[in-house]
């Protein structure tokens, strides 16, 4: 059957069972938009800025197990999308971005709204394509979805020139994909897995360090079973929160720059470290030389060989799908007659308990006069029963949300961990709410971050998305302010947010409900009222203590045990 390129694009999306496409029309994608108009299987969500489209597709992917899809026009449409694409790339989020391109006849002539999309996105996509023949659209889109969701997932861009979307070709959606230069790791090496089991059984001070790979691989069940089977201390990265239940006693909470004292000390003092779907990045292990001073054995399990031995020396690498490897590791351990030495492990746990006491867990001094941001998150946790989908922006509020909201389930915590993109939270919440219409979705944000994609409040109105925006408004770019206080002699260069809008009026202007909360005693009633409004977006402007800092803190370039606790200051 002969169809136009644009018809083929839409048919491909239908074949991939895409429910929502997040996008923004423009000249180069008009034929595709025309075809979207003529059908109702694939629903289009009109954002107000292309960055919002990509973040929304990202939130959609993270909160489900699906591939997010965004559609943008050429030139500025594509460049606006780049931040979103890079965000997804850094966190390995499966996504297909379709961009329009100027007609093939004028490519390279600096045509109106022309930009080298493939060139600009090359360093921040898993792969990208420029389709020059309508006959190649179907196979390319099939490949794009396949690449996006298999192996280490990531965003894939398909750039389609306008004339290609208007020319006709035979449409047949391929049932299979073969890319001769691409293979995906499946099961891990069985010998290595048996060796890992032995190392864990004989470990005196073991720690499990689990990252976003556990979430992406849907391996939370296997991880939880493994940790509980051996009684291992387990810490999760910012990306891995919810991979192991945060309220469980074996959980040490988050590690890293703003991780718990016990998690960081356990990382530094363990003798066997099982790293799962995590990549030892600078915000997690701090100073790499300091980290390497301790002669611990490292078992590293990851689907991407290039993540292994990138920053730290690894004693036992296991390349494979985290879920499959953990399942096999569990089988080996369950059938083993050997059990971990309970006495030795008890000693290790006693040491960890000591750190828990010293670190005061996650402590802050509450106040009757001024709202403490941590208190807002604690109340948010209580009122949502710990079961909401929480998206966040980037900064202090993100760290407090990660610390104080105890995620027990995967895909509930959605934040830009790798790229650290301010403006991510609200559009990500839109994607999450659309694919989880019955879930409670809240966006924890700051007055700085929210303004980076505030225009999406309009999208939320159009699509009736009852997101709860929890803005911790301290009138500062809080994390910048904190670093300036600690490391730049209290010189608060450009971190004060002057001339803030009246967020209540702003929310109302967009057709939503706005609330301003100034007193600690009003925090809980306000949250209760807001979350009781099931059908409305409520923007809560919490006026919080502008001097509050995030603790613990491992300063940049320092080792995990060189931590600043709140009482040190």
């Amino acid at each position: 059957m002969e169809l136009t390129g644009a018809e083929i694009v839409v048919r491909c999306l239908q074949e991939e069972q895409v429910e929502y496409v997040f996008g923004y029309p423009g000249g180069a994608v008009l034929f595709i938009y025309d075809e979207l108009f003529k059908q109702d299987k694939v629903k289009h969500v009109l954002v107000r800025h292309e960055q919002g489209a990509v973040h929304a597709a990202d939130g959609y992917a993270r909160s489900s197990e699906k591939v997010g899809v965004a559609l943008v026009t050429s030139g500025p449409g594509l460049t606006n999308a780049v931040t979103g694409i890079a965000t997804a790339y850094m966190d390995s989020i499966p996504m297909v971005v379709i961009s329009g391109q100027v007609p093939t006849s004028v490519i390279g002539e600096d045509a109106f709204q022309e930009v080298d999309a493939v060139g600009i996105t090359r360093p921040c996509v898993k792969h990208n394509f420029l389709v020059k023949d309508p006959g190649d659209i179907a196979s390319t889109i099939k490949k794009a979805f396949y690449l996006a969701r298999t192996g280490r997932p990531g965003p894939v861009l398909v750039d389609i020139p306008k004339d290609v979307s208007n020319q006709k070709a035979i449409f047949e959606y391929p049932t299979e994909v073969s890319i001769r230069s691409y293979s995906t790791p499946g099961k891990g090496d069985s010998t290595a897995i048996r060796h890992a089991a032995q190392m864990l059984l004989e470990a005196k001070r073991p720690v499990v360090y689990a990252g976003g790979g556990v979430i992406l691989s849907n391996a939370a069940t296997e991880l939880t079973a493994l940790v509980k089977l051996l009684g291992l201390p387990c810490t999760n990265t910012l990306m891995g929160l919810g991979g192991y239940p945060g309220t469980d006693e074996l959980s040490l909470g988050m590690l890293g720059m703003h991780g718990t004292y016990e998690a960081n000390m356990a990382m530094q003092h363990c003798d066997v470290l099982l790293a799962i779907g995590a990549r030892f990045d600078d915000r997690v292990i701090g100073n790499v030389d300091h980290f390497a001073q301790v002669p611990r054995k490292i078992i590293h399990l990851d689907i991407d060989p290039s993540s292994i031995a990138k920053r730290v020396k690894v004693d036992l690498p296991i390349v494979g799908d985290v879920k499959l490897v953990l399942a096999e590791l569990l089988d080996v351990l369950r059938s083993s007659k050997q059990k971990p030495d309970a006495t030795v492990l008890a000693d290790w746990w006693r040491e960890i308990e000591g750190w828990r006491t010293r670190g005061g867990r996650l402590a802050y001094r509450n106040s009757d006069e001024i709202i403490k941001p941590q208190y807002v998150i604690e109340k948010l946790y209580e009122i949502t029963g710990g079961d909401a989908i929480i998206t966040s922006d980037v900064g202090q509020h993100q760290m407090w949300a990660a610390q104080y909201y105890k995620f027990d389930k995967p895909r509930r915590w959605i934040n830009s961990g790798g790229l650290g993109t301010m403006g991510f939270g609200l559009p990500a919440a839109m994607g999450a709410q659309l694919i989880n219409p019955d879930a409670t979705v809240a966006c924890v944000t700051g007055e700085g971050s929210i303004q980076m994609n505030i225009q999406e409040l309009s999208t939320c109105k159009q699509f009736r998305l009852p997101i709860k925006v929890v803005a911790l408004n301290n009138r500062y770019l809080g994390m910048v302010r904190q670093w300036q206080e600690f490391f730049h002699g209290n010189r608060y260069s450009e971190s004060y947010m002057d001339a803030l809008p009246d967020f209540v009026k702003l929310a109302e202007a967009y057709g939503h409900i706005g609330m301003r909360i100034d007193k600690p005693s009003d925090v809980e009633p306000a949250l209760r009222e807001a979350f009781a409004r099931k059908d409305d977006l409520v923007f809560m402007d919490f006026r919080t203590d502008s001097t509050e800092n995030v603790f613990p803190m491992v300063p940049g370039g320092k080792g995990l045990s060189e931590v600043i606790l709140s009482e040190d200051l």
């Binding site: 493939v118 060139g119 090359r122 360093p123 898993k126 792969h127 420029l130 690449l147 890319i179 001769r180 230069s181 691409y182 991407d304 060989p305 290039s306 031995a309 990138k310």
Partner: protein, 163 residues
Amino acid sequence: MRHIISLLMVNEAGALSRVAGLFSARGYNIESLTVAPTEDLTLSRMTIVTSGSDAVIEQINKQLNKLVDVIAVLDLSEGDHLERELMLIKLKAEGEDREELKRMADIFRGRIIDVSGTSYTVELTGSRAKLDNFIAAISSDLILETVRTGASGIGRGERILKI
């Protein structure tokens, strides 16, 4: 340490820039890079000469393998291999220099492939060191122009990179 890495990749627009972009984005060193299609025109064979610590070279290999367009990667310097580089060098050849330069080209088994009243162009193939030695043996004021391809490498004997 110097490494010579061979790779097979799909012969498609953009594949070269993915490799070059990877090296620049991650701060890896490229001493030379050569690429051309193989006997199977859907494939290109690339030889990259690079240097770095063992950890860096391991990352380079892994990162290259991760590129969707790259089919196979072989670090030739891990085993027996041959490498050759081609140089075209234009020399100022006047008066008594003409005879001397002709002799020098012969000693290095170069071929004079173009002659004018005032110049010779010599084609020379060999290891990087041989080409360097030839340049060192010629008085620098006689060298008008040099063009070098960078090394192409292949494994010895049964060491074959093919799919």
